[in-house]
Symmetry: C2
DNA sequence: ATCAAAATCACCCTAAAGTATGACGGAAAA
DNA sequence: TTTTCCGTCATACTTTAGGGTGATTTTGAT
């Protein structure tokens, strides 16, 4: 708490101390040059310079920094695809079924999918039928469309 | 040019003029208070206050504003779809063919497309065949996949 | 060990999709 | 004006997709 208070008004305190120090300095100068007649102008100039500097320093320390906020637009790459696993559970979609759906979306025929997965055509037909059931669609094109909407496929 | 130069160094010029004015003021004060013995401290304090204020004013005028750059994340709206017309020309795709392709991508059957466009099923078959030719594919699922890749459909 | 999915496959049948070919009217380009 | 392309439609045929039913094996969880 105390340190915080000190830190907050540090500049003001320093200013006060500086003023005190300067007072002593001035008194000393006064005493020294009191003998010399032409010391008056020098003294005034000295004071002017010192306090101008002090004012500048004070202003820079205490004034809130003038800030210009520039908004820099950072474009986020929205291309990332993340599979919606909660959706998978909700639909009760199995791994294999999802796999078949993905290959369907790539434009493969049932025959090609069968070859790719090393299973028979009939197996793929069974899988795709289940996919259609679970997605509540009739055709593979609809399945693809809905699969994309539900973030099951990119 | 000249006005620009003046504008740029306006603060400095004003400062100079102010200094000159103050010099006159000081001279006058000197002359006035030279009689009074205790005028010295008053004079010094006056100078100190004036020049502190001047320093503060100078600093505030001349200090460069700090520029803070804030990165603002802008999520690019991935929904923006722009049809690639140059691609259409390159492929020699007609309006009707593109229309059929779009409806295919929405999961419609040939029959449904025919009904939607008020033409016969055979007409749609002809169109889709030409679409497949031009896209160099065999199946509608492939056509959809390639159509999306080529920005023909969203 | 048991039970429930998941994955596999088969057969049959229908519907939809795709290929090939030809035809015709209209509009735009040559 | 002729040619070319678009859009339309038809017929015939082949291939692929999809629905229904049933069966076996594998796998994971209780």
């Amino acid at each position: 708490m105390t340190t915080n208070y000190l830190a907050k008004y540090r500049s003001v305190i320093i200013y006060g101390v500086s003023l005190a120090a300067l007072l002593f300095l001035l008194k000393w100068l006064e005493w020294r040059f009191i003998i010399v007649d032409y010391a008056f102008e020098i003294y005034a100039g000295f004071v002017a310079v010192i306090f101008t500097g002090l004012g500048i320093w004070l202003a820079l320390k205490l004034s809130k920094p003038k800030t210009i906020t520039v908004e820099k637009q950072v474009f986020i790459n929205a291309g990332e695809f993340l599979l919606d696993k909660s959706q998978l559970n909700k639909l009760g979609m199995s791994n294999r079924e999802l796999e078949v759906l993905q290959l369907m979306a790539q434009g493969l025929s049932n025959q090609q999918i069968a070859e790719k997965l090393f299973v028979s055509l009939n197996t793929i037909k069974t899988h795709s039928s289940k996919v259609f059931e679970k997605l509540e669609v009739q055709r593979r094109t609809q399945a693809i469309e809905k699969g994309k909407r539900l973030s099951l496929i990119p």
